[in-house]
Subunit: 314 residues, 2 copies
């Protein structure tokens, strides 16, 4: 059987953009997105799933790359009215994006599984490749900061990554079960590669790995496992990811991230500008252009990732 | 102390329109709307409160009189997207109206009282007169029909009043407490009149009266109590209200409604076209123009109601 299936671990926006790039190169049946749900949160009574939506909108060609989340060219009638009614406005919800949040929330409240809802919504948005929540069980990424325990969206969006982070935990992870489709894909004969998306490893990839059985399933898979540095493309020395790395006592560099994940990776791709960090790494590393601003950037990154992964086979 | 306070029992749209008419004649401090919450329901995970919103939008000058609920000139970007995502579209939620529903739902979920939220939202919409939910405790109007037990919105909107209604009950009413502001207003020396809005008595006014203590507080108040027939203005012989009356074995006429409420009323206003039904009624009845289509209609109805109520004093 042809090894054609590429599994992307998508922590957030980076993973969504990588998946979008891959979708331009692969048949829909050959791409599976595993979405981090640790950053899911309730806002205004709505169930918001940032990583799922990042992938959903990216694969549907609808993502708002400038705003960072939500749908492109969305109208803001709801937000403007909500502001006048005293509602919290720190999480942007365009009128079209809101329809997704409301549709999902209503279905969750009557007991449907997040994975079932996600699959249905993806189909309705014309997305053929499966976007699978890492688990249908609740997992919550919590940060211990100098301002107390807060959720990731609170840290990253509402407080603009200003608090100092001392610790990251994934509440509920110990009792969560990986979605069976993910385990089947990782154990299956069609697996071509596992790609770890360019997202914050501590807050956005680790929650996926924190689910019992997930790390082992990845370790045991027969395909190459490749991660892409989230410190790429734009200057990131003062960005939220670099800041959290420093807070946690990790070298705020691609090399620091590569070392952290070395034990589970067959390869690591970092940005051209970080190429000087390759020598001395305990892992095979490759330099590439890591931008994901345009569709062409995403496709180029996806192509490099695929070719690099294929080169690691055998 | 001047008897200036008018309390409107608002079951739904009719009460909202009457309150709007009164707001054109009275000082804001002289009008209190008591809103039926028996028809509140959860839709798409949102807490929808039709009677509160009817009053809120009417008093804010924002109600959509053509659509029957929601805000005038609202955009439908959310609804159209929701439709494409498979969400239920039988309850119209414009983008601006949705902001109200989401703001309210989010606040209810964190434990705020419906009355507190309503007062705050009213203030933000520029509504000065209090709109008070009949109770902060949950009451649910349930209809036993030939299609089983259903909620009022399900009957009236989703199923377009097609099922045959055998019985109406108000689940939770027995344990609900009237909002204290209502009791204070009814017992206070400022009370000028209690006006029962032109809404379906069985499904929309009875839930208010079903709350222990409410009926007695109304019976004991020292001001005239006047109801306005909901069968007015437009041809209603085949309308939902007439149909439900017939289902319940009541004469589907203004006289039938007047008789039903005679024991608690000092007077009843019915439509000019129903003036022939006045003779023989066990209650003082008056004929008037009951239309509420235009602001002028609403004001005229309010003026007649006030003058009639005042004429009943002493």
């Amino acid at each position: 059987m042809a090894r054609s299936l590429v599994v992307v671990l998508a922590g957030g926006i980076g993973g969504g953009r990588l998946a979008f790039g891959l979708s331009r190169l692969l048949r829909t049946a050959d791409l599976m997105v595993v979405a981090n749900t640790g950053d899911d949160f309730e806002h205004l009574g709505l169930a918001i799933c940032p990583a799922i939506d990042a992938a959903l909108y990216a694969l549907a060609g609808l993502d708002d790359t400038a705003a960072g989340h939500g749908r492109r060219d969305d109208s803001l009638v709801f937000m403007q009215t909500l502001g006048a009614l005293g509602g919290a406005g720190w999480w942007r919800l365009g009128d079209r994006d809101l329809a997704l949040q409301v549709a999902r929330t209503g279905r969750l409240r009557v007991g449907e599984l997040l994975s079932t809802i996600t699959a249905d919504l993806a189909g309705r948005l014309g997305v053929g490749s499966p976007i699978v929540p890492m688990s249908d069980d609740p997992v919550q990424t919590r940060l211990r900061t100098d301002g107390g325990w807060i959720a990731l969206h609170d840290y990253a969006i509402r407080q603009a990554a200003r608090p100092v982070v001392h610790e990251v935990v994934f509440a509920g992870a110990i009792a969560a079960r990986p979605h069976p489709d993910i385990l089947a894909a990782l154990a299956g004969p069609r697996l071509r590669a596992v790609l770890v998306g360019p997202d914050n490893p501590f807050s956005s990839i680790d929650p996926i790995l924190a689910i019992p059985g997930m790390r082992a399933a990845i370790a045991e898979c027969t395909a190459p496992i490749l991660a892409i540095s989230p410190l790429g493309g734009r200057p990131t020395a003062d960005g939220p990811i670099a800041r959290m790395l420093r807070d946690l006592g990790i070298s705020a560099s691609a090399a620091g991230i590569a070392r952290r994940y070395a034990h589970m990776l067959d390869g690591f791709i970092l940005d051209h500008k970080d190429a000087g960090q390759i020598s001395g790494l305990p892992i095979r590393a490759f330099a590439a252009e890591l931008g994901t601003d345009t569709p062409e950037d995403c496709e180029a990154l996806a192509r490099v990732a695929l070719e690099t992964a294929d080169s690691l086979v055998g």
